[in-house]
Symmetry: C2
Subunit: 211 residues, 2 copies
Amino acid sequence: MKVELSALSPTPQVYLARLAYLLLVLFENMGRAVTTAPTTAAKSTLSGAASELLDAHHAVVAELVALGADPTDAMEPYHRELDDFQRRTQGADWYEILVTCYLTAGFLSDFYAGLAGGLPKALGARMTDKLQLAVGEHVLVELLRAGIDQNSRLASRLALWGRRLVGDTMLVAQDAIRVDGQLPTEERIEPVFTELVSEHTRRMDALGLTA
Amino acid sequence: MKVELSALSPTPQVYLARLAYLLLVLFENMGRAVTTAPTTAAKSTLSGAASELLDAHHAVVAELVALGADPTDAMEPYHRELDDFQRRTQGADWYEILVTCYLTAGFLSDFYAGLAGGLPKALGARMTDKLQLAVGEHVLVELLRAGIDQNSRLASRLALWGRRLVGDTMLVAQDAIRVDGQLPTEERIEPVFTELVSEHTRRMDALGLTA
């Protein structure tokens, strides 16, 4: 996947600015997962996942500063679209919020790690590293499995929610590789999205849900 | 203040457990300030303040682990009371949320830094250090002043809100120094609270508000 995606990378500044704002949105989602957590244990482990996303956001902002950009100005063009994405994927309760955190951060960190292959080499390596959101993935799978394993109605509701999320998430990824508002030709992007979707399916499988 | 407060410190484990959960609550408030921020600039600077609180929470949790405690079990006895505090001090809009973040974190970090004088020396020094929430204070004063300076009705509404917050915040501090459910004698706690309240007044002054 990385080979195909890297050919679609925007400029470093555009890549970083969009990713910086996106990580803020993903962090906010995780913040809502912390706030709505029903137990102290869940609250505490989710706060580690929130840290991971905030650290990644700050690292990306630092890269923008290193390029001489003003991070706020740089992020500004993306806030409306990504705020909309956030609203559409908010989730109705704690479990749906967890699924949102898990699937959207998983899909989009894979996607941005793939795009990183098209950045200047050292920068690309730092980004790939920062996009390993291992704490979050681990914590979310554990909390979700604990809920799903004892409640089959929850399982089918979350499967539905996961299917809905993938569409909205894919649009965010597509918007990131538009050039002058146009998507690259289908032959170029199809293999990329096929692979991203198969990773999404693997993530659903890890919850025991059908994608 | 530190002299009087240090004599009222609970055991290290009780101190750390309550403070750990409190920092999680203060972080959640800041997370809501990030989410509801009206501009990209505000969102981005507030995320730095959220990091500071999360780092402090994780540092305190690490101290609990170092003492051999299970952090979740240790925090559990405090969650109900501190969740109530959070609900009562939530704020009706972004500016009230900012005032909550500013005043409650300011008051309670002063308070816990004072109590730290009664902990084993090295632990106390680490806690005093972690409780310097400098990023948050700076960012919040700047955002609040910008709003207040151009809107006198906002100023009087926030002055009112600040006065209400101090009562709820003081109760949280008092609960942290109860022994067997009883507060220490008035002579012992009065000078402590007099000084905490004068710091609160200084914080209101920094916004141009009357305490």
